[in-house]
Symmetry: D2
Subunit: 346 residues, 4 copies
Amino acid sequence: MIKAGIIGATGYAGEQLAWFLYKHPDVSVEFYASHNYAGMTYNEIYNNFNGYIEDVCVNMETAISKLSSINVLFTAMPHGKTFKIAEKALSLGVKVIDLGADFRLKSKDEYEEWYKVKHESVDLLASAVYGLTELNRESIKGCNLLANPGCYPTATILGLTPLVKNNLIQPSSIIVDAKSGVSGAGRSASIASLFTECNESIKAYAVASHRHTPEIEQELSKASIGNDIKICFTPHLVPMNRGILSTCYGSLTKAVTAKELIALYREFYKDDCFVKILDGLPETRWVRGSNLCHIGIKVDARTNRVIVISAIDNLIKGAAGQAVQNMNIMFGIKETTGLDIISMAP
Amino acid sequence: MIKAGIIGATGYAGEQLAWFLYKHPDVSVEFYASHNYAGMTYNEIYNNFNGYIEDVCVNMETAISKLSSINVLFTAMPHGKTFKIAEKALSLGVKVIDLGADFRLKSKDEYEEWYKVKHESVDLLASAVYGLTELNRESIKGCNLLANPGCYPTATILGLTPLVKNNLIQPSSIIVDAKSGVSGAGRSASIASLFTECNESIKAYAVASHRHTPEIEQELSKASIGNDIKICFTPHLVPMNRGILSTCYGSLTKAVTAKELIALYREFYKDDCFVKILDGLPETRWVRGSNLCHIGIKVDARTNRVIVISAIDNLIKGAAGQAVQNMNIMFGIKETTGLDIISMAP
Amino acid sequence: MIKAGIIGATGYAGEQLAWFLYKHPDVSVEFYASHNYAGMTYNEIYNNFNGYIEDVCVNMETAISKLSSINVLFTAMPHGKTFKIAEKALSLGVKVIDLGADFRLKSKDEYEEWYKVKHESVDLLASAVYGLTELNRESIKGCNLLANPGCYPTATILGLTPLVKNNLIQPSSIIVDAKSGVSGAGRSASIASLFTECNESIKAYAVASHRHTPEIEQELSKASIGNDIKICFTPHLVPMNRGILSTCYGSLTKAVTAKELIALYREFYKDDCFVKILDGLPETRWVRGSNLCHIGIKVDARTNRVIVISAIDNLIKGAAGQAVQNMNIMFGIKETTGLDIISMAP
Amino acid sequence: MIKAGIIGATGYAGEQLAWFLYKHPDVSVEFYASHNYAGMTYNEIYNNFNGYIEDVCVNMETAISKLSSINVLFTAMPHGKTFKIAEKALSLGVKVIDLGADFRLKSKDEYEEWYKVKHESVDLLASAVYGLTELNRESIKGCNLLANPGCYPTATILGLTPLVKNNLIQPSSIIVDAKSGVSGAGRSASIASLFTECNESIKAYAVASHRHTPEIEQELSKASIGNDIKICFTPHLVPMNRGILSTCYGSLTKAVTAKELIALYREFYKDDCFVKILDGLPETRWVRGSNLCHIGIKVDARTNRVIVISAIDNLIKGAAGQAVQNMNIMFGIKETTGLDIISMAP
């Protein structure tokens, strides 16, 4: 039995993680740590856990004191807050899976430029593994510090990597127009996230400045043969709880049909049971509540462009589900354990 | 392994049932029958089943031809359509679980008055068991024809039975103001159910005339000591996919506190793991996606009234989940098998 | 030209009021005062006013200093905050229309019991007029201090008064089950009002304890012939921006048909162009964005009950629209001036 | 007084048109014609018009018989249905404003290629004026047959024309990622438009094949200096009633800042009161219910791209509002008459 601890357990990603770990046959959660809700029972905060998770949330100090009793620590904190606790856990031999942003970028400078805070654990960057499971499975196996990808990057990188790897897309032509449900904004009291401010509206935000941009570029550049890829990335906020749809555009380097691309994608992801290449187009509702990524591909022959559209549940494949998927691999468990959930419709 | 067939498999209740049975460790589904989608694969209709249920839907004739190879038939059809197929299945020794309305009312006259069609299987009414699991567990065990309760009745009867059975509520005082998500209207093309017609609005409908009224009255009268209970029932349509909230009012027969009632309810449902009595008030989101019923109880001492509020997922505890719960009992399987799902939030 | 000031101009009720007054042919707004946004332009906060209201919001001190230059002050503040400013304005000969709760209840004791704060302007209570326009038009004409009704009371009192006045409903039998959109919770950062916490759910709240209860009782008792009416009142939160639906139940004192009641209501409201008695049932979408109240009436002969359902836009007839309607009367302007807006669908 | 008739009066665009014309000081509507609802009163279909528009809808035959008594005919029909009625009306000296697609494309071939029906009024194409008011005001003045633009084209062309006209954008680089509320799908019973199928989801549709593509290309090419512009266009369906957000991407032909572009846009639209150039980013909620177009502009210096985002209400500036705006010009009335509505928030 893997003993796990969660820090940041009462945010939406942390709560989704608690949901998965509670049912995971090989995991027991030793503590749920929360900055804002320490002292309350978990089910007081999330009533869906009435009769299930009724543990009292602990504070950071208690969490730290329990580090030596666990095998894996999940952290789901705002950026800049995970450095010290990750170091501490690793020094005690505890594997760390960070759902936050602090270990995703390999370049300290890039991190500091986009996140506007000093990176305090530069020494850990080299050994941190970027946990987009389908693309980095081998490195994940032996790693101790896993940087779990962001939600937009997960959908986008899964959508574009087969094209980039096969040199089918002009490196400078990539535009990503992404759409997210409101849970992506987290569970903190803010006027911008009120029902009345989000409902019946759509908007773009952080245009040409969103922090997931360098993360996508880093991984696509890694997949590319000799290109340093820069993308134009625009996230949008959609009035729904969950879901990300990433609509990715690029110019084709040679004539190819959608049918050929679909075959290529199916071959590329043939061993990845959480990625489904569709004949048609994805909709976020079909993956909501699951760890799946649905991908649809179209070619606009008139303009020589490919349009790849990928859909995930931002809290699952885009956060907690992928974290569990990575944990399974890190601990030598079957990758799908505890994750084999089909989306419920409607 | 229980062999099952589903008729009406592509409506929302049928689809939820397919969802549960696909994962049920003791069930294999032999056919998915659909009036409108015969010939299509299941996942073409519901893309969430891509990679999971990819069977071709069959028509009614094929379904009938396969009856002899199954142990249980689930029917999820409009009222008036299940008589013949149920008779046929029963005659072949197949147990029938009907998610429709045709066998819920014990009185043929009441059925014909409220549903405006002739009852064509009057002989079956005596042996049909009303499957509100928590209240009729013993009768369900041996039954061959199970009438699975309606969604509003499930929430309402679970909410009111402890009061009625303990003679704590004046029988003529009961008012039920219920609210449902739009999936309750089913998956048929109708202007009234369009996004644009339901979103950003709430309305009452079928005031003093909804067909679930006699079903609730029948079961509450059965629970009552010598009273023929009539209720005033008003359903409302709420802009959300899933969920029923039933707000039930009645005059108390004696002074009692909410705390005492909560204790009484907890005792009443102490062996029922799908019913949770809350200290506070239920919200449909905390039970959405689960087979749970959350119940909250308040006393309005100023007006000597009790207010009981119960929440369920209309497609699960109000339809497919309870059907599986009943199947488990009918086949001697542990009641919670395949149903132990916690609601996902948000 | 009537010179007006608004205190609490950046809450949702204040904003709706600004919307109406900006277009009102007989009003000029001299200042928009805001606790949280003083110093910002109005359209920075509400971008719909780009190119329209671009005034800088002032703070309370500035507002007070401008009192002597206006004819009417609108206050839209949390309860307990309006006493001093109202006194001050009245002392300067400025008429006051309070959209808050501080002058609605005639009884100081009742106010203090339900609102848990001391009433600091008891002397003003006698002269304050409760501004449910259709019922108090004559008293409104000459008044200086108008207590604009709450949203739930407006819908409920309009729905029940004809029955109460005609002694058609048993005074102790009244139950009000009301449903509101989320804008009723105001525009303040709270986790409970986040999109992700409200969407896809319905809940009751403040059961048997909501502060609008005594307000409804006061006005219904006034309408009644010799009865002190107590009601059982349950508000619910619905995932929509705007709208209140009030479903009111009561036992009939004599046999009467819905048709007769509809005729009675039409006669009762025959001079009130903002109240429409329907043949069918109301839906909040048909009144959203308008100052209308739609009322539908059904009789449940089986249980001898009447069900009256009324729908309003909580921010308009339930707040700012009615405030303007009252202002029009107080200043001798045609009652409908600036208010003749038809709801937009969908 | 302008006498108007509406054919297709009970679809969403027709209904929005009825809303505007009812209040328009210079217009009287002589008939509301409807294919599906002839014989019903208008307010039976749309209850928001109770007490306002209570006319009986007429059928097409009656509409035709009344053509000689009107000055302007509005048609809001599916494509391919307007040819004959437009010819008939024009032959009687009635001006025609078509909210449908039949006269938008100048090229018969392009029409037939994209719409898959034969164009039956080719002779009218030369004289039809494309009614994007801000860009074609002069031609609109004298025209008899006005082709009112589609919703996506309105938002997109307003967003891109200043760049194209000033040769600031590489003609082959344009990608338009647009998002629409569900009212864009019209008011017909279809499973895909059910609340339960649209809510809590986002999807792309008609990728690289949407019929608004050639319309956008035609107008941008016209604005361009010597370029035949082809765009890559992807529409998306968003769970909200109203609103279009068009996110437009292109490569800059020279180094320019967002600030400079904002200044250029403000100059370009300086006489157009319905177009507002923002300092920040648009959100559909701020224009919902109004005839406004809000435009925001960002430059992504890292990738040398401009991102222009425009927001409209699809039923107003994208349909009925612009039709009234065009009517005003065609009849020499002040352009804003009857259209000066501010969006209501929330």
